[in-house]
Structures are given as C-alpha cells and as structure tokens.
Symmetry: D3
C-alpha cells in the first residue's frame, strides 16, 4: 500500500521516506467554522487537506493530519465567532500546536515543512508557532530547518480571478463561503455542498474597523459574506488545479534548496 | 444529506441538532504515534474516531473532528517518544485544545460532551483541559455542562478479554500495537494494516519505573510491546461492537440525565 | 493645564473625565522597527500616537501611553525581523499587554476603548488581547465594554489613494517606509525624516508565501519595500487629516452608542 | 540630526552605534499610576526616561522606548491598585516584555543593557525578565550579555537625603508622590506638576503587613503617602543631577568591562 | 551532624556530596488530599518522604524537600477533588515545579535525580516536568542528566500482595486510604493514624469512565475507596521494607551507570 | 490527637475546624537556599513554619504545608542564585503555587488566609499569586476572602533591633544568614546550626544596583552577607517570641473582622 498520509503510514515507511531524500512535510491548517447554509463547517480544513494530498502526488512530500480547529472567526473575514458550530482555539493554543509538531518533524530528521493554511485568521498564530519552533530548534543546535507558510488563495492568478469573477473580484476578505470556496467545495467534496440551501444575501458591507464583541447585525445572518451563486464545479476545478500546480512548484523549489 | 460529523454539517444543521434535543458532542482524542511495522501511525485517533462515528448512529450525538496529535509516547505504554514519526504535543498544548473546544461547545448550547480517548498518555492532560474549561464556564455562569471522559479499552468485558487472549491477558499497558489494536485495525481500517510486516518480537519486559531520557534499549526495536500475531478481524469485530454498544449505553444514560 | 494624555493627567482629572461622560480611551499600538534609511524606528508608534492626539481634540477621548514595541516584523509587510534595531515582542506578550490594560480601563469605569494600530503585524495579537480581556470581564460581570480595533490606513479613501499614487497604488503591504508612511512622517515628525538618506531601491517582489527563517535576499537591503520618493508633506497632511477626521467620526458614533 | 532615542533613530544609525563601540541600551521601566492630586500618572516612566536621556548624553548609550505600564501598585509603596487611572500589568506580562526586548537587543549585537526602573513594584518582575532572557540567550550561545538593573532612587547620597529632608527621611516606601518625586517632577516636567492641587494629608501609617484586597481605608484618599509640601525645584535639580551623574558613572564602569 | 535531607544540610556539605561521588537527588512528590476519616491528609507526601529517607541511608543520595501539593484528586483513584481539605495544583503548576527543581539540581552538578511519587494523579504532570527540564538542559548543553520516575507502589511484589490481601487484591486504583496506605501509615506515622475512626464503607464501584464535574454520589462519603480494616502495622512494615529495598536497588543500579 | 498541621489532620477534622468558626489558614513560604557554612539550606522555610506552628497555638488557625522552594536568590539579599544547593523556582511557578492553594482554601470554605514569608525574594511573586487567586475567585462569585501577606522580619520592634544589634543594625538586606537568622536558628533548630563552621567574613558591600548574571566576586564566598558571630540563642528566643506574639495579634485582628 502506498500512501502519502502520515496517519496511514507506519513509522518504518515514514522513516524510509525521511531518510531517502529531501522530504517535505505538509501541515494543513484549517478551522471548524460556519460557512453559510450550503458549505460544511470543515471547509477550511478539508480544502487545504485536499490540496496537500494532491501536491504530495507531485512532489516528495507527506501530509500530516490537518489541524481542524482554527483561530477565532472574525466578522470581516469569516462572519464572526458568535455562530453556533464555529469552534475556535485561543491564539496561544494554535501557536503551541504548530510549534510542537514542527519541533517533532525536526526531531524526525525532516528539514522542510510547509504549513498550508485554509483559514485566514490562522496566519499570524501559525507564524508565531513557526518562529517559536525555530527558536527552540536553534537552541537545540538545529539550524537548517526551513518552514514555508502560505495561504493557498494567494496562489490564484489574475487570469483565474478574472475567469471566476467576470463582474469583478470583491476581494479575499469577503470571499468567505462565497464563489471561491463554494466552487472549490463543488470540486473537492461535492457531496457535502448543499447548493439548494444557498442563501441569496447581498454582499456584506463593513466599516473599516472591528468592534468587539462583534456587532452581529453587521454580518449577514447566513454567515455568507458575498453571494456564492456564481460558484461552479468547473471554476472549482480550475482553482484547485491552479493551487496544486503552483504551490507544488513553489514547494518543489524550496525542497531543492535542501539538496544544495 | 445526513451526517453526524460536525465537519461535514452546516452550522444550520448543527444548530438544529443542538436546539431540538439533548445532544452530545463526541470528541475523539488520539495520537500520531509509531504502532509497529504493521499498524498506521494514526491508529490511536482512527480507532476512537470510528467508535465515535458508530456511537453517533445509535444515540443523539455528533462527532467533532478528532485531535490527531497526542501527548508524548511513554516507553512502558507506547514505546517511547524517540521513534521517528511519533509526533507529540506538550502537555499544556493538549490541555489547551481540550479546554478551548469544550468552551466552544458550551457556547453553542451543548451541555453534554464526551471525550473519547484512544491514546493512554492523553488521559491526564485531557482531564486538566476539561477541568479548566469547567472552571471558566462556571465563571461565565454555565454550571450545567457535563463532560464524560473515557479510554475506550476500559469498556472491554472480562469475557471478551478471555476470548481475545486465550493464553491470558498481558495487561493494557503492553497492548500497544498488539492483539487488541491490531484486531481493531483489521476491523476498522483493514487496508491500512500490513499483517505481512508483523514483527515477531517477544513481549517487552520493563522494570517498574521510567528513566528519562528513555532507555531505548528497553523497548523492542519494532515498537510493538507484546506479540500481535494473535490478532484477527473477528476479534476486532467483537471488540469494536462491544465498545460501541457499551459506550453508547453509558453515554445514553448521561444524556438522559440532561433531560430531568 | 488641560491635556488628553493619560500620562500627563492626574488621577483626579482622569476620574472626572470618566465620570462626567461617555469617554473613550485610545490605545496606540505600534512597533520599534526598521523603516529604511530615512524614517525613524519609532514610526509605527509615533504615527498612531499623533493621530490619537488629534482625535482626542475632537471627541471625548483620552490617549493612553502607546505600546511602542510590536509583533515580529514580517518580510512581506515590514521587511522581516532580522534587521538590527527592530525590537519585537512575542505574540503572547503583545496579547497580554492589550488584555491587561483593557482590563484596567474597564476597572476605571471606562466602557469604550479604541485600539489604534500602526503596525500591521500587531493586528491579530491585539484582537486576541481584546478577546481575552472581554472574556475575563464577562466573568467579572462587566458586559458592556466595547472595544474598537482599527488599522489607521484602512481609513484612506480611494480619492486620496489616487491623489497620493498618481501611477497606481502598490497595495498596503508594500507600503512599508514608502510613500504613505514617509509623507505622514513629513507631516507629523519632519525633524525625524532624513529625506537625504532616501534609498532608491525598486519595489520588492515577493512570492505569494513566506519562508522562515526569512529569506533575507528577498528583502531590499534598505528595508524599504517600495519607493518612497513620491512622498511629500502635502500628501502627509491630506492623509493625516483624513485619518483624524474619519476615525474620529467612526469613534464618535461608537461613543454615542454608549449613551443610549 | 543626532539623537540617542532609539525610536528617533533609523536602523542604519543604530547599527552604526552598535558596531562602532561598546554601546549600552537603556530601558526605562515605569508605570501609569496615580501620583496624588498634583503629579501626572506618568511620573514613574517620565522620570526614568528623563534620567536615561541625560545619561545618554554622557556615556555611549541609546535609550529604548520606555515601558509605560508597570506592575500593580501596592498600598504600602504606591497607594494600591484600586485608584482610577492606575493601569497595571500582570507580573508575567511585565516579565515577558523585559525578556523579549532584551532578547532583541542581544540579537542586534548589543552586549550591555541597563534596565532603569522608576516604579518600585516592577523590580522583581524585571529581574525575572532579565533572568529568562539570559537563560534563553545562553541556550542560543550568547554568554557575554550583561544587564544592569537599578532603581534610580537607590543612588541618592546620604548628604542629599539630609538636604532634602531636614526633618528626617521617612523612607523610600512612603516617598510615593511625596518630596522626592514632586521635586524631581518640578525639575523634569514642571508644566505637569499642579502644586496648587497639593493635598496636605499626613503621612500614611501602615501596619507591617498587606491585606488583599487592599484595605483602602489605610491609604490617604489623595494617594500621597507622605507630605509633598517640602518639594522644590531646587531639590529636584540636585536629585536629578545626582542620579544622572552617579548612574552614568556606574554604567560607564560596566560598559568598560565590555572592552577588556 | 550528618543528614541526608537537603533542607538540613549547609550548601557546603551538599556541595561536598555532589563533588565526591555520583550522588542522586531524591524528590518526593505527594499531595494534600483527603484520606478518609483515619489517615492524615499528608499521607501521599509523608509516605514517599519516609521511603526516600530510608533509601538515602542505603545509597548515595540526598532527599530534597517534598512537593506536598499534588494534582487534582480523581474520583476513581483518590475520591475526587470536591472534598474539603484536598488542596491541589493545576497540572501546569506541578509540571513547572518539577521542571524548575530538576533544572536547579542539574546546575548544582547533579546528574542523577529520582522523582519518587506517592500520589497517582501526579504521574503525567511530573513526566512532563521532567521532559521540559531535559529539553531545556539539552539546550544549555547538559546531555547526561538521567531522571528516574517511579510510583512507589509499583515495586510491590506479587508475594507481598498475596500476603496483604489474602482475599484477593482489589487493584491499586481502589487502594486509596485502604489496606496498603493504612498499613504503611501504621508503620511510618502511627501517631497520625486514627484506627478508631475507620469507616466500614464497602468498596466503591465505579463505571469505566469519569464524569466532570465529579459525580459525588459515586464516591463513598468517607473518601475511602475500599475497606481498610485489614490494615496492620506488620503489613506496613513488610511493604515499607520492600519498597525501600527494591527501590534502593533500582536506583543504585542507575547511579552506577553514571560512573561508567 | 490534636494538631494544627493540615498535613497531619484528617479531612473530617479540618472540615470541622473550617465550619465551627472563623479559621485562618497559614501558608509558610520559604526557600531552599544557601545560608552560609553554618545554617541549613532550609532556613527560610523552617523559620516561618516554626512561627506559624506557634501562632496556631494562640489563634484559631491551621498550618498548610510550607512551600519549601522559593524565588531565585538575589546577590544583595541572599547571596545570589549561583551557589550549589540553592534550588529556586521561576517566578511564574511560585505565583502559580500560591494562586492554586489559595483557590483551594477558598473552595474549602476558608475566608482568611495568611501567607507568612521567610524569603525576601518571594514577596512579589506571592503578591501576584494572591492577586490572581482573588481575581479568579471574584469571577467564581467569592468576594469575601481576605489574604494577609507578611514578611515575618517586618514585625521586629525597634527595641529588639537595638538589643540584637548593640553596634547598630546593618539593615534587613544584609541580614542573610547573619545575626537575626542565626539567632532564630539557634532557638528553633539548634541541632541544625553549625556554630563551629561560622566564617568570619566582613559584611558584604554592594553597589546600589544589580548585574545579571550575578557578579559572584561581589558576594562573600561563604554566602553570609554580614557577620553572624553576634548571634545567640537568647536573641533568637526574643525574636521568635516577638514574631509569634505580634503576628498572632495582627492575624487575630484580621480573623475577627470575618465575624462582623
């Protein structure tokens, strides 16, 4: 049986992969968060997990179990943490998870890690986890670990944005449970997308600041920040393929560095 | 589409489940840990996840995404944390995860949670996470949350132990990657069990104390603490069914309490 | 003597302000961070401090001492934390500062706080500090504190951007030590801007991901991410006035809410 | 433009200072704390900041931005933390700030730091921050960082005490917002001292123990622990000059050690 | 005067012991916890302290002051943390104590430490403390520290169990304040055992899971988990001697390793 | 058997004491720290423990197990933390212990606690522990807990100081392992005082600042900060009796407050 999923490998298989070449461990980061009436709450970890799996078919990489809980949803990018079902971690918890598992990958002999993020709010706590891991590893005498961190949607090309948003792109912030994620969902986990439940709320309009506790009246009741009705599986396929290809290329370059 | 997996549900579906009845959230806790040459490293989270899924078919419950990383493997129960692939969290990290997600379930309106553990070393850090969540929730005025915590193997009946171990049961501690887990694996994820890779090490013999850093020479090189060769899918089925039935019964009783 | 700076007030004067009306405490958040060869390292706290001072002349507000140290500089928005002089806090430290001082403002009787951020990397750690403060305060029975959090540059109007960037706006991320901050500096602390030291590096070009430790070769040696040579005091005045006016308006509205 | 204030320097200027000689970074620690009806709440950070500035004119030193929030005011030395306006940090927060910034100064290449404290309650949390920084730095292979820590008032000579207190010195603990600090304030920030608001409370009398929560009735309502009416600018000048001269001498000696 | 108790030694005597041979520091871990109507609340730290003292007469070892407070009592092993008098630490606190003192012993030059535990619930938090200390020490360049960790009751031989429990051993979990601990108490601190207060509750019967907050009705009101009436001083003497001898042998072997 | 030591009481006895009257729990705080060639390293916890025991004979109080490890020894008050044998905690650890046990005493129904400190360096970390406990308890709805905190030596009368120091009192800071502590030791644990090992070092002379890491050359090699040769058991008796009487009086007054 061959698999690139760490959880499905025996330690012997994993060790062989680590020893026989520059291997990258991919760590998908996500969330359990409301995604409107039509997308599953796991969207933010299911998408980067699928991307990582596909990447690992192209480059020498294994996929660690995803971190399925993320940092607290923010109104202007995820609708806010007041929705039932949204299940979030304190920032220090997420940071600690990322720090701990990277420390362990390094102990295994791994020298290339990619943290592939699918939930915007995770970014800085993941960065801190990486920084703390690197600080500890330097103290332990390990100086050659490289960690790539990325938000998968940053790999969208302008051409694809144009294609997906013929009437203009509203920006990533409002793309929560909207065209991009819904299209991706139709491609990656079509059985979990309830297109019949799509709510036709207008796009949310936020002032340029936050109020805590969240002003729930600013957020569309559905939790969808801009209309998803333009979503199609075809768009999802284009996006998914683009992410896989472009991220794989980037990571590939970073793995090669290890060999010099 | 009906599902009991939180990650596959929309927030609307989940909210409905929470509102319409006493609902229990099941949180599978596991590890990413060496399990010999024949079992996948995800064994400790894949098994409780499968048990939870089956339980949720029988009682009003939903299954939260599993915590796939656990506390550091100890030689006398898991072979030790020095194996490549074993990817562990600091105790405070695991405690924080459990605390955070329980705090969130309570915010959703859930009043019954079960932490279903598949990795022995997790137990006390999970307990602390539960205790810290309850302390915080009391401060927030929530006094009626009940959290069940269990290690699934404690539900094995004496009769089943006799059946699985005709020559006598070596004790749970040595059952790492051995007859119980291997049989369960053959039932739950047969495609991930490499019976052809089974190493025929004798049972490990430990003195009644630990040494840190681990005395690696005390641990069988395979990581298997007692022979797994008696494992069969049939035993796995019996064990799995027993766990599902008996744990479901216990949780059912705890859910009913909520209705009084 | 009248002053709106908390550090310059006696406790009696402050108490009077708190008691006699809905008062907002403004907390400037910044950094001590390289800002090229021409801007002082305090830029990120000096600018929000100046904005807060001017706001406090227009609305009922006092200005708390700025947090002069911020979260670790990131290559794609601040050049990276490897520069000498950049003096950063761990994420948990910044979170703790924000949490602690908000908790204290609430104890004083303040019910409106605005965290006015001048350093992009601070945002999420400040959010977490606010969230943790609110959680603690709820446990202490204080449920009516509202905290506004903002990044001052998000208040720039499209018209002003057009005016400042006749050849097109490169985006806020690359605006580190560039036209916006330099123009603002010329307005706010002209004596600290060394226009003669301006380095004419081309704009930085980053791939859509991070590598940790930072790839220093991706960052212009000067630390300036896009050319600052279009900066003028006139632009700075326009920007500054716009920020003061628009933020004051927003905060004013939030203060009024307290009176209903 | 020449300045010794880190926040006003560019990174290039700072780097030059670090590289061209043994340079000491001065970190003023203070508080935002009630200081009676006549002194500003920033007294405890404004005074050490002024002292540091003057020291940096005499010895090769730069002044880092002051830490303007301190540890919780204690009744017997600062009147207690129950006063409105007093804005304090948890001990762990203050410790973390000191640890983090020292760690950064060391990264810059600095090998001499002085923590100049103006708020009695800060002392031990600053000590712990220094100790934690040194522990981390040793792990990172940096063994030659020296950190001086001082409370500026400990540099008062007996002669000056006699001069300032012709009727006998009541002890530093009761000198909160009293003769020493008020005199210093008249010298350093005369425009912020409201001598007309001076309350003529008798000196506080405390039993030799604390009660938590603070017995507010033990503390003079003004927050002044002993009469300030003997304060004069002349005394302030003498004190200030003495502190600057004697501390500069001490630090100078410590800097020289670096050159051997 | 000769003593093996660190608290009774001068630093000079201790230093001599450390320098002149392989010395082991014994750290007794216990609790302050209800032990029924007849045993003192200090039982869990008094017993390992007595064992350590006796061991130190046989092998080159000194005894550090016991940690008299332990982790929260669990119903199934200690009756639960709801009893008055039971005074427990958070898990992270216990971990930090163990980490800190081991770090210090290592600084003294000690290379063999034994953590001798008398309270079941402490085990994993002590393990984490040891692991964190070792991680820090490795970063500090100390790689040869060995820490033994043991629960004293694991050294009971089958023969002694037979002798103490002629009607069969109920298992260690239920042995809280029961035959083993009471017999040991009669041997070690007879003046503190109130045999006349012995409550004749039947053995507790627990389901194979925990509920948090504790189901107090599951726990015998006395706090004794199984009958103690079979306890005798004679049994206590046998147990105590066996623990001392067998643990001393084990530790002796570990000390010898240091000399190779 | 009657005892006031919590560790020697059963939970039933303790509960009776808590229920039948205003009861104070005394928590002795100390250290394991070098005390010259003649005093045991436990001096700082043995002395407050003895004082607490004697106080509990006079007022309604029980004595909790002492905290035998304290905060890091500082050169100017304890000789510094570089001595072998000195075994110190991080500040956050000591704070956590104090917080945790006070939280537990409050759960027991206790409403008066006294933290009796015997190690100068502990003071502020104990204060923080008390403050954090009170904050948590307030959140839990407990508002009437009072915690006294004291350093026993602050109860020395001027008359006794004159008697003990006919040639003038050098100040408490230098009284480490000197006349006061040695005299007290001769009274409280004469068998542990090695008067024949007394080193006749002159008093230490420190500059008015600290250097970290400690300048070991500033500290007398014996660790004694001023000559102990004037110590006598007679002085120790006077001091001890005075502390017991005066502290008992103070605590008694605080207990009475509870009854109003």
């Amino acid at each position: 049986m061959t698999t690139n999923m760490m959880a499905e490998m025996t330690w012997v298989e994993y060790q062989r992969r680590v020893k026989t070449g520059p291997l990258m461990v991919l760590l998908p980061l996500g969330a359990l968060e409301q995604h409107g009436h039509h997308l599953p709450m796991g969207t933010d970890h299911l998408l980067p997990l699928a991307i990582c799996k596909a990447i690992a078919e192209r480059i020498p990489a294994v996929v660690a179990p995803p971190v399925a809980y993320g940092y607290k949803s923010q109104p202007r990018m995820g609708g806010g943490n007041h929705f039932p079902g949204t299940t979030s971690l304190d920032g220090s918890t997420l940071t600690a998870i990322v720090r701990d598992v990277i420390r362990e990958f390094a102990r295994h002999g791994v020298r290339r890690v990619a943290v592939v993020n699918g939930h915007c709010e995770n970014a800085f706590f993941a960065i801190e986890g990486i920084e703390l891991a690197l600080r500890e590893l330097r103290a332990a005498g390990i100086n050659d670990l490289k960690v790539v961190r990325l938000d998968y949607w940053e790999f969208t090309t302008a051409a694809t944005l144009d294609r997906c948003f013929p009437q203009g792109f509203p920006g990533y912030a409002l793309e929560h449970a909207a065209v991009l994620e819904t299209s991706m969902g139709l491609q990656v986990f079509p059985e979990l997308v309830r297109m019949d439940c799509l709510v036709d709320d207008p796009a949310a309009v936020f002032p340029p600041y936050d109020v805590h506790p969240a002003r729930q009246e600013w957020v569309p009741p559905s939790g969808v920040l801009s209309p998803a009705k333009g979503a199609t599986r075809e768009k999802g396929r284009v996006l998914f393929d683009e992410y896989v290809e472009r991220i794989a290329d980037a990571l590939s370059k970073e793995i090669e560095e290890a060999q010099r």
